[in-house]
Point group: C2
Amino acid sequence: MNTREQILSKNYEAMCLHGFQGLRTDKVINELGITKGAFYHYFSGKKELGYAIVDEIIAPHYIGTFAPLKNSKNGSIEAITSVLEYLKGCSSRETIHIGCPLNNLVQEMSPLDDTFRDKLRGIFEAQKDLLVIALSRGVENGELKEGIMVEDVAFYIISGIEGSYALGKAFQSKKVFDRSIDQLIGYVRLLKKD
Amino acid sequence: MNTREQILSKNYEAMCLHGFQGLRTDKVINELGITKGAFYHYFSGKKELGYAIVDEIIAPHYIGTFAPLKNSKNGSIEAITSVLEYLKGCSSRETIHIGCPLNNLVQEMSPLDDTFRDKLRGIFEAQKDLLVIALSRGVENGELKEGIMVEDVAFYIISGIEGSYALGKAFQSKKVFDRSIDQLIGYVRLLKKD
DNA sequence: CCAAGAACATACAAACTAGTATGTATTTAA
DNA sequence: TTAAATACATACTAGTTTGTATGTTCTTGG
């Protein structure tokens, strides 16, 4: 991992815990054993580092997680519940305590910085679009009930995910997160035609 | 409004926008036209101010919103959907842009400060308890389907609410919030026996 | 081989920020 | 009425934190 990647990665970790405003870049730099010279060589400032973290770490990760929805073979509901199960599987007690980095950043920075806001909204929009693709396919091939508001359901699924992270964090409990996701899975299954 | 209440209230507003770490108490004090002397007379420090805001503003507000669940006459589902409708009604474009102050604070401070974490978790716990009361009554008097996991559903409803706030904030859209809450209302109605 | 830019290191500055120390006016209680 | 506590104001400090200016080494293309 080169210096730029190290700076990005360590600052991302620190930002997950302390938030963007609470992130102290110089502390991270010290921990890495490098100096300010390296930092300001690669990034013109703290904000630009933040934007780079969003573009190069957060966005690829969150869009990648939803990518399987694009062309799923076992039906759209199965594809969606697979994503939800995956979220349960890849989250540990520690990650739940920290919460969803994407949501953390939205909550903190959306009202304070337009660039952050637009970039982060774009990620959610991409997730929503992928859900809409999967759900629309399910409606077209008769897998889903008729009269489903595809976009509303897509928004709602994302909201259920972020809400589960929020609650898991509030209760410091992976179990609360899992149970909430399970209820969401139950809701998604109800979209299927009997 | 006395000086202490002014300090609490204005700092609360600023904290909703900037977060606790981003809150600059001296800036708020200047805007109020008072000085540091007044602030440190009433609060021993920034953290203690934060705790007071949680205890005296946030907790009463959020628990109050859920209080009608305690003894509702028109059935438990109606009581819960009423709360959800109320949340839609009392939120404007501006409040959605800022997000749910309770959730904001949880996301920011839970991993960083145990006192914040415990206080905030207590608020969610109180909300959950009130939902459990309403749902249990619904199960007992036969209003709800059998086999409902009362506590899981309670967690899930809170998660749906917080998720809706999070998404509304991410998309800077009250409409997204409303649509997500509507889906949650639809889910809650499905708990009813046909 | 050598010039030029890339990749850092070092030292310093400017602004901010929470908090303190102290002073004063006003209210309250004995 | 007077001592004491309350309710503030003023001025100052110590510690951060972001950022800059400048210097040095290393790499690389011609």
